[in-house]
Point group: C2
Chain length 344, copies 2
DNA sequence: ATGAAAGCGCTAACAA
DNA sequence: TTGTTAGCGCTTTCAT
């Protein structure tokens, strides 16, 4: 009785399938994991039963045996100034999609906001995840240090700013190149100089972006004195500062974020200046606000889908202990041109 | 030798701890799961060893035994018109945080975009998740039907519009009340009538929001004829339509989304009308764009953190087979007042 | 090409 | 209060 009951259970197991197909459990397992070992007709019969019964291997059992969860951990930080929600959402989706291609799923976990390392260790020791994707854009390398110490396989989105020689695998976007591109675009519009706005608390990321502006203006040989501002990150502050510069006659602004750029745009509109004609403004991250605002904000768009793809690829290599050809990958962003630099 | 090697392994197990503490494996297990069963001094000793060894129970083994993964599945849809990224990000974070309070984590998975049901069944049969949170705001009830059929524990964010009598657990926001509130706010500003803009493809959600506008204008006894528009969901369309109405003298607009509201705002600015003084506009979802645009957009803000909390609570009840007191929870949104309706 | 045995690490049920 | 036994469902190893 008992064996029979089991065989008709809601959750069929290998044994259920094996019995129904008249083979051993091992053969069913092979049908799934090494189909080429089976005689084609056996394989067909087993697969038919699997399909008929709607059998899926129990993840916990497989995980226990193989020591692989096919799960990638991602710690979600509380909403903060560093990462705006829309790009994060875009990245997350891309990550889920790309991970799916290698049979992985994402495990989201939260940690004590006061401790950037909280949660990683426990998940790893519990063998709950195979590895991590770390959003290390702004926090520095402390996470990476710990992860390396506990032997966690991981790939970060973000460079090791404080240790460029580090051999840990990372993927990042060349923000500086994007900003340089944007600045050159402004200069090509005929502006004799370009101001730079960034976040006072922007850290190495904003410093990197600024370096892109610097490279462009230096190459062009245009003046830079008194044209940079590091601001509190909100529209009002940016608007006020931009107003001052506009009143001095400055007509082009490259900004480290869309928020700052929107402030500049407003200051220009305040003064009856036509964006894209009288004045040029560029932002960063191609946020919804950049797309929706009037008259549209030219912005640097990071290839987050590609970033996700590279991260998954790299993590796959790390997990399989494959030697990684190039563990540091820097991707080029695009410039999305809108009316703030082009037309009216 | 072999047993000794095991005991000093990187990943300690119950046996390792038990041996070190001089107790049985079961006692160690109890120390973790039913500490009150142990004699305090035994407990202390075991916990000390656990701490010393950095032991965490293997998730797969526990999951296999208890048939509970402590994982909640959430299918992420490709970015679409229905859900904007910022609110989704906000909700996701809240969900992760709230789930953590009951020891749960989120498993993100993707499914074939053409099949809204893809992925659920497989995860459930693999006992990879304990239950699901379903974002059912726009897709209709097909997901719920399937989930119910396969016996999956789940809670949806979104009402069963097509079957209000359904007993499935859900949490939703009373969008209609939010819009009614916004409309009354506009009327209180002295406007003799209020136009309504929504998405042509908005489905029951936009119909619900519209009903809030309807309730407010009817209660106020103001005219409604020719004041509603169902539009393609972009700023340009909204701006053009708003222009027509503005030219007819309409001065107040309640909108089903921030995107539509931004179009209205632009149309007003085109005509030199002062938002918050000459004309009033309200949006929905308090998006970053609403916060960043000039002069700021009054918008209905959904309590997504509360929604997440209620969902986790409800799912907890469903999972534990606790009888659910109130399996249908409707939360009230707030109105965030900005310059588009107030001041200039 | 297929089957049998063993065991991954844990907890439920029972025994002491 | 603690220990013993058994087994969750799977895959690895080895035998056939």
């Amino acid at each position: 009785m008992s064996p029979n009951r089991r065989l008709t259970d809601a959750h069929p197991t290998l044994a259920t399938v094996a019995h129904r197909a008249g083979v051993s459990r091992q053969t069913v397992s092979n049908a799934l994991n090494s189909p080429d070992l089976l005689k084609p007709e056996t394989l067909a019969r087993v697969l038919a039963v699997i399909d008929e019964l709607g059998y899926s291997p129990n993840r916990a059992a497989r995980q226990l045996r193989t020591r692989s969860s096919k799960l990638i951990g991602l710690r979600v930080e509380p909403a903060n100034d560093a990462t705006s929600p829309a790009p994060r959402d875009r990245f997350l989706h891309a990550l889920v999609d790309r991970a799916a291609r290698t049979g992985h799923q994402l495990l989201l976990f939260s940690g004590d906001p006061g401790d950037p390392l909280d949660g990683y260790d426990a998940l790893l020791r519990a063998t709950a995840v195979d590895g991590f994707v770390v959003l290390d854009q702004h926090t520095g390398a402390s996470q990476s240090d710990l992860l390396r110490r506990i032997g966690a396989p991981f790939v970060t989105f973000g460079r090791p700013w404080d240790d460029p020689a580090s051999s840990r695998p990372w993927v990042d976007v060349d923000d500086a190149a994007g900003v340089r591109n944007a600045t050159e675009h402004l200069l090509a519009g005929g502006h004799p100089c370009v101001a730079w706005f960034d976040r006072a608390a922007g850290g190495p990321v904003d410093a990197d972006r600024r370096s892109g502006w610097q490279a462009a203006v230096r190459a062009a040989g245009v003046p830079t004195d008194g044209l940079t501002r590091s601001l509190h990150h909100d529209v009002a502050t940016s608007r006020a500062e931009a107003g001052l510069l506009l009143d001095e006659g400055v007509r082009a602004f490259a900004c480290s974020t869309d928020t700052l750029a929107l402030g500049v745009l407003q200051a220009a509109l305040d003064r009856g200046l036509r964006p894209g004609v009288d004045v040029g403004v560029t932002g960063f991250d191609d946020s919804p606000a950049a797309q929706l605002c009037w008259p549209g904000l030219t912005s640097v768009r990071r290839p987050l889908e590609e970033v996700a793809a590279e991260i998954v690829d790299l993590l796959g290599a790390v997990l399989s202990l494959r030697p990684v050809e190039n563990p540091a990958r820097l991707l080029e962003p695009d410039l999305v041109v809108r009316a703030s630099t082009h037309g009216g």
